[in-house]
Subunit: 144 residues, 2 copies
Amino acid sequence: MEQNTLSSLIWLRMARFVQRSNQLSNEFLERYDMTVAQFDVLAQIHIYEPITQMDLAEKLTVSSGGISRMLTRLEKECLIVRKQDWKIKYISLTDKGRALIQDAMPEQTNFQSSLFDEVLDETEKKQLYTLMTKIQKNSLQKKI
Amino acid sequence: MEQNTLSSLIWLRMARFVQRSNQLSNEFLERYDMTVAQFDVLAQIHIYEPITQMDLAEKLTVSSGGISRMLTRLEKECLIVRKQDWKIKYISLTDKGRALIQDAMPEQTNFQSSLFDEVLDETEKKQLYTLMTKIQKNSLQKKI
DNA sequence: TTTATTCAATTGACTAGTAAACTGATGTTA
DNA sequence: TAACATCAGTTTACTAGTCAATTGAATAAA
């Protein structure tokens, strides 16, 4: 018992950090009347629009059911539109959605960055980015 | 726009990695008829029992409402007990809960570790642990 | 031309979290 | 002793995700 390998300690710290940073982001984004999940979706659409629901789900590491629900919410608030072409729906931002994300993006990016900038120097951040790239890529191709 | 600072790229990779690793853990833990959230709670109780709900919530970075629900579920499945003393409830594992977590722990820890062990060497893991410790500590004391 | 197949998207039933309002024992004060 | 304050825990109403079953448009086959 007490299998406190270095790896499992890293896992725990990372899981708690992400959870905590999502709580903080949600609190921060209240001023834009948005959650961090909604911000994340709008930001991806902003980069890749027009994009299919399937592709969006994959970029967000979310199921097709999950993306469907989320887009229904965002559509109801007139932040995005779904245009059906053949049997695929293409997602784009509305003017309102584009204005919102362009407004929120710099501040939210700043906030996210502060979580790292406050405690890491430039070299450490490069190190961390390299390490994260390796483990994230590995996790995407891993199967049970 | 396109504020792709190094820090915000790290944030994105970390968020996606944690999400993906939770999906994989849930799939893995199906064999024990458990979710990764339940595993996490049982593992913390195993280390700290007897522990109050408040303390448990803090260790798991979860709200008091969240821990209340989760413990109700685990109690219904006879994995934990709550003993009221004064106005505080102390949580402990039942024999069934202890058996389950002791059974699942080595395999789950192994699985978690493989996410890092497969792509990082010992030095890189030490680096990553040091960096994660810094940023997690910072996130816990950060306020909006 | 009708039937079957495919596959993106949706829906139903679930877990897991949040904030905010409420409950209920235990102390404190008038 | 009766009213009030405190504070852990619970509950309500919500967001956000999962899997599995279903829907529906387009294409292929009989």
